[in-house]
Each structure stands twice: as C-alpha cells, then as structure tokens.
Amino acid sequence: MTKGTTTNVGTNLVGMSRRRFLTGTAGLATLGGASHFPMPALAQGAPLKVGLMLPYSGTFAKLGKFVDDGFRLYVEQQGGKLGGRDVSFVQVDDESKPEAATDNMNRLVGREKVDVVVGTVHSGVAMAMVKVARDTNTMLIIPNAGANEATGPMCAPHVFRTSFSNWQVCYPMGKVVADAGHKKVVTITWRYAAGTQMVDAFKEGFTKAGGTIAGELALPFPEVEFQALITQIATLKPDAVFAFFAGGGAVKFVKDYAAAGLNKSIPLYGAGFLTDGTIAAQGDAATGIKTTLHYADNLDNPANKAFQAAFKAKTGNDGDIYAVQGFDGAALLNAGLTAVKGDTAARDAMVATMRAAKIDSPRGPLSFSKANNPIQNIYLREVKNGRNELASIAQANVDDPARGCKLAG
C-alpha cells in the first residue's frame, strides 16, 4: 500500500435536493473566475490531495484498477511523495457513467478540494470531467480516454493526457497497410464516437498513402452479432480489413472472423484495443493479427523492464498499457511539482514544466504537444504465441494534429 491516506467517496448525490445542487454548482462557477485555486495557508506542509476518478466497478473496472495501480506504484517509488510532498488519495468510482460524471467531478473539486484530478477510462465521462476542469481551473490528468476533443477543441493548459488520442493510434496504420501492398480495404467498427474517430484516422492515413476504402461496415454499439457483416466482407473480397472493437466484442469478432476462414485469405489489421487485454480468450484465432498502439508486450527498453518487474512485485499481475498510462500520469505530475517544490499555488510555472516534460516512459520516449497530448512512438505489433509482440515502429514521435485546439494554433 501507498503511504498516505485514502478516502472513499460515495458517488451518488442521494438526498441532495436540486436547489442545493444548483447552489453548489453556482458556487463552483464563481470560483472558476479566480485564476488560482485557493490554497490553505498550510499548503506546503499538508499532503498533496490527488483525486482518482476511475471506474472501480462496471465494464471498465479492470482497466481502472490497472491505472490506479500504475499511479500508486510511481508514488511508492518516490517514497510516497510527489515533488517532495506527501500524497493523500481520494477515490471516486465513476462507474463509466457519463450522466454522473459532472456530479462526481464537482464533488472532488468542490467538497474534497483536491489539488489535482486523475481520470478516467471512458471518453464520455472524461469529456464531462474536462468541462468541469475548464470551468473550475482544476488540474486534470487523463490516463486513458482517447476522445480527440479532449486535446482538440476542448484543450486547456492545465488538462493533460498521458494516454493517446483516437487519431494518434490509427493514423500510422494507414501507411503500414498501404506499404504491405494492400490497395482495397474494408473497415468495420461500432457506430459510436471512438469507433468513428479511429476508422476516420485510419482512412486519412490509408488514402494519403494511395489506398482506397472499398467499404465501411458498422453496427450499433455494443452489438456483437457480426455474422451478416462477415459474410459481406467475404463478398466484397478486399485486400485487407481494418477493425476496431474492444472487450467482449473484440473477442467475438476475432473468433468469428477466423471461424469464417477469412483470416486465411484476408489479413486483419486493427487498433491495438482489438487484441489488448482479451488476447487469452481469443486464443489461436488472434494469431497473425497486426495492430498499432503506443505499447507492445515485449518492448525492450530498460524503463519497461524495470516497470514490469516492479508492477509484478507490487500487484502480482503483468503490467499493461493502462498501468503504464497511470504510472506516467504520476511521473508527469511529479515533474511539475518538483519544479515548484510542491507548491501547487505556483500553477503557471508548474504547468509550463509539465508541458515541456520529457519522460522516460516504459512505452519509450514521451513528451507533450502544445495541446498537452502525448508525442510518442506508435508501434506495429503482431499477435504471436498469445502476445502482442513488437514488429516495428509504425511511426516514431506521432503528434496528434489537435484540430480545433487554440493552444496548438
């Protein structure tokens, strides 16, 4: 366990009347006018209060736990401190429910008065958090959600992301597929924001490299009856298929694709999430699938080896990309706090240091764009022996175009 204390906060505003709630939010809005978050006089001596708003239950619970473990591992390695200050945690279970996100975030910022919020996995929840963070000038570190908007139109100097943008992980795949000699590609995904953003980024990269999209198949989220669309792929006979699914849907799609014999004649490419986290359940059906992501299971760099050993020792599990994203979130915060000797009131200096930070991440070199999105290598991985093994660097130091972000202009 980490040094310092952890408080669990309930997530429901049960019993809170509408009027009280409105008063609460109005108060926060006023607070947003001040340029600095008010700090108690004891600021230097008091522990740094970190709000972890993550899915501790529900579909993404496992992802939330790995982010949490990764973040705490880094803090432990610093002796329970960040920037020389003791750390205390306040946990909120966001349950991956966008409708409760604003209330949960307001509770962390307003009642718990945390110094920084770390969260979350689900993009819909994260976007609500970004909105509150902007309104209240709260520092926010996003350890997973990939919605392009968070470091696009909604970007802010004090909102950081240590994971990826949907665009970033899929754009490099376009060139990879074209370079492999495939001219006609069919895309398939769920019809929802993340799916559309990922497929669009792939299309952008692929058409730029001279390829043609022969068909765009989609089905409603989170439906898993793929048989009709798989038959359609066989009819269209493309040179390759690009797919984005995750979780149970990804397993079923990969297995259905193999069961229909398509894996033998039409190579399957995808965003890394197609095979990450559920590869054991996919078994042999996944062998040979190539995906792009900002991490691979066997990255051979000293930071990754040290991280994997420490994570295994702490939790008994193998670290994955979610744990790395949490770990790097703490590293980023540590860099900013160290520069201001733990004084969060010196916000401008802290933010400037974080924006310029260069982190030796387990995923490889990590720095940040003007929109505070990671600049990082995107790796091409191939499923071999039940692992996502590194094949090559699909594109080094990929920088999200941050479309619509005023900071990047």
Partner: protein
C-alpha cells in the same frame, strides 16, 4: 448480391433467429403461463454461459458443460421459485419488475465473485470445430450449422411437451384458467415450479450453446434480454409458436437490415415490432392484451 451470398445471409438470419427462439421460449413460458415478468432472464442467459465456461475449463468436456450448466440452473430455478417467485403470482407487474431487477444485480455480483469480469471463450467439441468451404474466401463453421440443428430439435421438443404430453396439457389448462385448474385437483404449485425452473434452464441452455460462437462476457445478457422481450411481444405473450415466428422474423430483419440498410439497422427490428403491433395488437399469435 449473388445467389450463394443471399443463401448464406439467409442461413445467418435463420441461425440467429433460432438462437433467439431458444432463449426467448423460456421467457414466453414464464411470462405467459405464470404471468411473471422476469427481467433476470438475460442474467440467467449470462450465468448459463459462465457456468458452461467454468465446467468446460474444469472437465474439458463440452457436453458436461452443457448438461451441468442446465442442471445447475434448473435446480436454482426450483429454489428461486420456492423462495421468491411464488409470492409474485397475481401481484402487479411493478413488484415483479423490482424483484427480478434485484435478481439481475445479485446474479451479476455472484458472477463477479465466482468468475471475475474477464472475457472467456469455450471450445466446441472437436468433431464440430471444423468449417465447410463455401467460396474461395468464405467458410461456414460446422458448429453454427449444428447450433441450427440443435435449436430446431429443442423447438420441436418444446412443442411436443406442450401440445402432446399430459404435463403440457396441465400447463395449457393453467394458462387458460388458473382457478378452474386448481379446483380440478391439479397440483398447481408443483407445475408452477417446474415451469419457472424450465424457463431459467432454457435461458441457461441458450447461453451455454452459444458460448462457443458468442464469447462469454459480463454484459452479454443485457441485449439478449431486450431481444427476448421483443420476440415474446411480437409473437404473442405465452405463445411458443408465436415466439418461433417472432424470433425468425427478427433474425432475418436484423441480418438483412445490416446488409441492405446499415444506417438504420439498429432501429429496424423495433420498426418491425411497432408495425406488427399496429396490425395485431396482441402479437402475431397472441390471445392476451400486451
């Protein structure tokens, strides 16, 4: 679309419909005969799949998994009927909805404790794991064909039990007029318990037989519950033949909807349901008000 592709899509639709029928038949029995709305039907579908995964992992036998999953669910159904469901007969639907919603939460939590929240898969028996080559790129998995056959056999068995056996006669009589059946000295409590447990066992059987093609994951029951209700309402509450027609209609609509009208495929089955209910407010073969 050439003839062969059309035939394959037709097969896809029929196969999906047959699976829907298998799961929905349990719901229509419980809804139609006991008058109980069981929102937890999807949760039992999921539980059946997880039990199948668990037993298959322990014994290595698909058939043991199938039998074990159905057996455990049947016994669980008997116990639940005895403790909870029998208090729900004749109560208003709100009480039933609350109880069965609570059951969803409890089953989900039990699943969480026993099996965790990982995604799993179940291997089909070796002799069913091959596939048949249809075109140069497309093959059809043998297990899916076997699944069609199995669901058909189950459908015939359900019809036979309900239409041709003594217990089926009692069940039909009970659904027609509960008080009269009781006054004729038929042990109705036992029949109720049997019907409820069979409904649960059918849901679990559905989950277990589709596990090899569908993957076992926590939220798998949610969409199945909604589809099952659509099938039941479409076919007419309590009508097993209606459920069969409804399930096939939905399977075909969904499959061809995805092929021909991909933009609106998600709402097509609900448009179909609304259209049929306008034409026949009690469902295709229904006698009772929806």
């Amino acid at each position: 679309m050439d003839g062969l592709t059309f035939a394959v899509q037709l097969l896809n639709g029929v196969q999906y419909g047959l699976v829907l029928f298998l799961v929905a038949s349990g719901l229509t029995l419980v809804f139609g005969i006991l008058g109980v709305i069981n929102l937890a039907h999807g949760a039992f579908y999921m539980l059946g799949a997880y039990l199948a995964y668990w037993i298959a992992a322990m014994t290595g036998s698909f058939w043991a998994a199938l039998l074990g999953s159905v057996g455990i669910s049947f016994v669980l159904g008997l116990a639940l009927e005895n403790v909870f469901i029998k208090r729900m007969y004749g109560r208003d639907h709100l009480a039933q909805v609350l109880l069965s919603f609570g059951m969803i939460l409890v089953i989900d939590e039990i699943r969480q404790i026993l099996f965790g929240k990982d995604v799993h898969s179940v291997a089909p028996p070796a002799w069913l794991s091959g596939s048949i080559k249809l075109t140069d790129v497309l093959s059809y998995p043998v297990y899916r064909l076997a699944l069609c056959g199995f669901c058909l056999v189950m459908a015939i068995a359900i019809f036979y039990v309900i239409q041709r056996t003594r217990i089926g006669m009692v069940i039909r009589a009970g659904a027609e007029n509960r008080e009269m059946t009781r006054s004729l000295g038929i042990p109705f409590d036992t029949v109720n318990r049997f019907v409820f447990a069979s409904g649960i066992a059918l849901a679990a059987l559905g989950g277990a037989v589709v596990a090899p093609v569908s993957t076992v994951f926590p939220g798998m029951g949610d969409s199945m519950l909604i589809l099952s209700f659509v099938v039941v309402v479409l076919g007419g509450i309590g009508s097993v033949s209606g459920a069969a027609i409804g399930a096939l209609l939905i399977g075909l609509t969904d499959t061809f909807g995805k092929v021909f009208f991909p933009q609106i495929s998600s709402i097509l089955i609900y448009v179909l349901m609304a259209g049929i209910l306008l034409w026949r407010p009690n469902g295709i073969l229904g006698k009772r008000e929806v």
